[in-house]
Symmetry: C2
Subunit: 203 residues, 2 copies
């Protein structure tokens, strides 16, 4: 693209470094900020910078937080005997949005992946073991994506947690709600037949 | 969505004000900036702020510029007798990318639109008349979108330019290159039959 201004070009290139944003979208965003009053554009940049500079990671569960301990860990109404282990902060948001879980979390910061060079030492596993050692935790839920790397991570964690008196559980796997049997892949369908449950009509 | 951090929530809302960016994309961008080193995120904000604060509009043609007169107006290699009138800066970029035009530009900043309350006084029309009055301009090309508002604007401008010794031209209208006759709308097809040209095989 041909920009008559170096400033515009720099701004377009800066936006284009963000995921899912190409040169054309970057130009649209740049021209949008240009058409807004200077104060609005300034407020936008200030908000983003403030977020980047002041955000902290919870010292207990590694969730993002405005202070040293996150709002979930400080919430006394939550069940302190259950910890849900997730890959990333985004998974916490997804689980919180279901309103089905009232325990605590632990963010690993990824999964073990020999191909990408991520070993157990790169993840927040040591801290999880320390939390379990402390003794209040009775159940560790592995809410990790059912991929090969995810399964490896669950296997590794379960071995590490074996010496302690905790129940290790995984999320139920099966057909998605609203999914059609015909379109389910064989592995999912096979596993959901193998782990079939007695029908409960809720009465 | 349920954010455990006010800082993240503010940043997501800031990104979501940009055109074409919803809450989910805004969250993805926010978490991306969070995962980058602080310096990279800072450089991103600095570039955008520098662009917004230092950008100027060319005093002659209203193009965006790093100085008071833009690089197109100061370029002595360009034809000074032709001015191409466009709605916005984006149109200049589109025309420049064709490499077919060597003259100057004039940005109106919109089109006359009674419905949206945009009158001739809201556009850079006075400045265009002044440029034509100066005498060096021989041709004014109306490169304005063929909409009802665009046609109104072209009509108004042509009336305003009538007293001066300039040729007023519009972009050729017809079937798009690579377009199929079958799918062209009736108005376009009808007009392109009416304004048919003698075949020129280029030899």
């Amino acid at each position: 693209m041909n920009f008559s201004s170096k400033l515009i070009e720099d701004s377009v290139n800066a936006f284009a470094t963000l995921p899912g944003i190409g040169k054309k979208t970057a130009l649209r965003l740049t021209l949008h900020l240009l058409n807004m009053p200077t104060e609005t554009s300034e407020a936008f940049c200030d908000t983003v910078m403030k977020m980047r500079k002041n955000i902290q990671f919870c010292s207990t569960c590694f969730n993002i937080s405005d202070s040293t301990v996150c709002s979930i860990c400080t919430n006394t109404a939550r069940e302190r005997s259950t910890v849900c282990v997730v890959e990333s902060i985004r998974d916490i948001m997804a689980i919180e949005n279901t309103n089905q879980y009232r325990g605590l979390f632990h963010v690993l910061g990824g999964v073990i992946s020999p191909i990408e060079g991520v070993g157990p030492g790169d993840l927040n596993i040591e801290a999880l073991i320390e939390r379990v050692k402390a003794g209040t935790i009775k159940e560790v839920i592995m809410a990790i994506s059912p991929t090969i790397d995810g399964d490896t991570t669950i296997f590794y964690l379960s071995k590490q947690l074996q010496p302690f008196d905790v129940k290790v559980t995984t999320l139920a796997r099966g057909i998605s709600f609203g999914g059609e049997l015909e379109y389910a892949d064989e592995v999912t369908l096979g596993r959901s037949i193998a782990s079939r449950r007695i029908y409960d009509d809720g009465t």
